[in-house]
């Protein structure tokens, strides 16, 4: 389990995170949601250790990361997989070399064994047979799936995804969401996803925290989203003018039905 306690982060005079407490549940798809600039990416980077919080603590299985030695940090990082917003695939390497990189670096497997693992991962993300292609030769959706394949190649305990749906069409975005959710269940991984996509929230959000201007303003799961009357949450959900219009129409309809019922 990952737990954060009173996490604050400032860049110069700007306070980006203002004291966040949250528990990311093990074996579940945990979502950090919020508008752009809410502090989601900063929080995710603090969780994986790419940024240090100004104050507050991050606990992995109740061990404070502040107390980690260099060896512990390396060990915990080998238990992590991360899918970056821009995929971060090594563009001068083939897809196979990209996925094999962690195996080359940290295992003593033979090339035959490594190739077998790579193929298995590629098959898992439905990308069989693209081993020799370069990242620039495949689509954005395929690159995301390669990113997922690379992040699960060492069978991680934790999977972090930074805006996995950004730049993808709705249908591909749903495929990526389903893939992440299935992998979370299959490998029993603790997954943390940072997104502002409401489709993702409603599809895979088993444990959600909503950030607004660096503060945690709501937490729950996808079933609680619909019934919640939390203003911050409804503001976030109905941020688009189209949805706002739908909401107003629904409220109008509800009011009308209420009047008729009175008569």
């Amino acid at each position: 389990m990952i737990r954060i306690e009173n996490i604050k982060k400032s860049f110069g005079d700007v306070e980006v995170l203002k004291g966040i407490d949250f528990e990311f549940e093990p074996g579940k798809t945990n979502l950090i949601i919020g508008r752009s600039g809410a502090g989601k990416t900063v929080l995710l980077k603090i969780l994986v250790g790419l940024l240090k919080p100004t104050s507050g603590n991050v606990f992995y299985d109740e061990v404070n990361t502040d107390k980690f030695s260099k060896k512990d940090i390396r060990k915990i990082r080998m238990e992590m997989g991360m899918l970056f917003q821009g995929n971060a695939l090594f563009d001068s390497m083939t897809i196979e070399e990209n996925i094999r990189f962690p195996l080359d670096m940290f295992t003593k497997n033979t090339m035959k064994e490594k190739t077998k693992i790579v193929n298995k991962c590629l098959e898992r993300v439905s990308l069989k047979g693209i081993n020799k292609k370069f990242p620039s030769e495949i689509s954005g959706g395929m690159q995301k799936r390669v990113g997922i394949a690379r992040s699960i190649v060492l069978k991680p305990k934790y999977l972090f995804c930074d805006e996995p749906n950004s730049g993808l069409d709705p249908k591909t975005a749903i495929t990526i969401d389903e893939l992440i959710s299935d992998i979370t269940d299959e490998y029993n991984i603790t997954t943390v996803i940072n997104t502002h996509d409401m489709n993702s929230v409603m599809e895979i959000g088993e444990n959600i925290c909503l950030l607004q201007k660096g503060k945690l303003v709501w937490k729950g799961n996808k079933d609680e989203v619909i019934d919640s009357e939390n203003e911050n949450l409804t503001d976030f959900i109905f941020a688009s003018p189209f949805l706002q219009k739908l909401k107003n129409r629904a409220l109008g309809y509800k009011a009308k039905m209420g009047d008729q019922n009175k008569i």
Binding site: L50, A88, D104, M105
Partner: protein, 248 residues
Amino acid sequence: MENNLLYHLGKYVRWHSQIYSRPENGRMYYKEIIRQLYDIGVGSLSIVLIISIFIGAVTAVQFFYQMDGTTIPPYFIGYIVRDMTIIELAPTFTCLVLAGKVGSNMASEIGGMRQKEHIDAMEIMGVNTAAYLVLPKIIASLLIIPILVSVSAIVSNAGGYLASVPSGLFTSGEYIRGLRAFFVPSHVTMMYVKSVVFAYIMTSVSCYQGYHLKGGSIELGKASTRAVVYSSILILIADYIIAVLLTG
């Protein structure tokens, strides 16, 4: 703070503790060293050959012009070309040119990886990125640049011969006699000391600029320029210090 020279000096020194840590997988580092040896060595050979020929040629022609009409015997030109290239021109000129070619390339390569989050991705995997990305470059530079400098010294002497003997400035025998005269073996040692120090400065300073890059493509261009400028200045300062220390 970020514009403070002392801040960067401290950061540069502290960064070395990250570079010199135990490799995760020796074989991966070995592969990277081989790649760098090829990139730096073979990739720079043609430019080193071209500049070296002209270094020797210009030195010979220039000194012949300055000594013309004096009582200094012509074979001294060969002696001057040899010592000038071995002690100073081959290591300094070669490393200054390599700072422009290889140094800017290293800064751009690592800076590009920083921008595209490749370094972050490796960090999350548990890779010591400072060691994996920088150490093989330093080792390769320390191995291959002294060889390039040796080639440069030999080709410069040949360049001096080609520029002066066929044009009749002096005879082949005089030039070769000069090359063999008053040879001091420690000058070769000085050449290697310089080439190793310059190689280290050029590689580490350039990698530092790329590794600590912040910002976008404009900053990447600036980092690449800084890599060349700072490396060149530091090479010249080191050149002076080595000259004082080894000739004093």
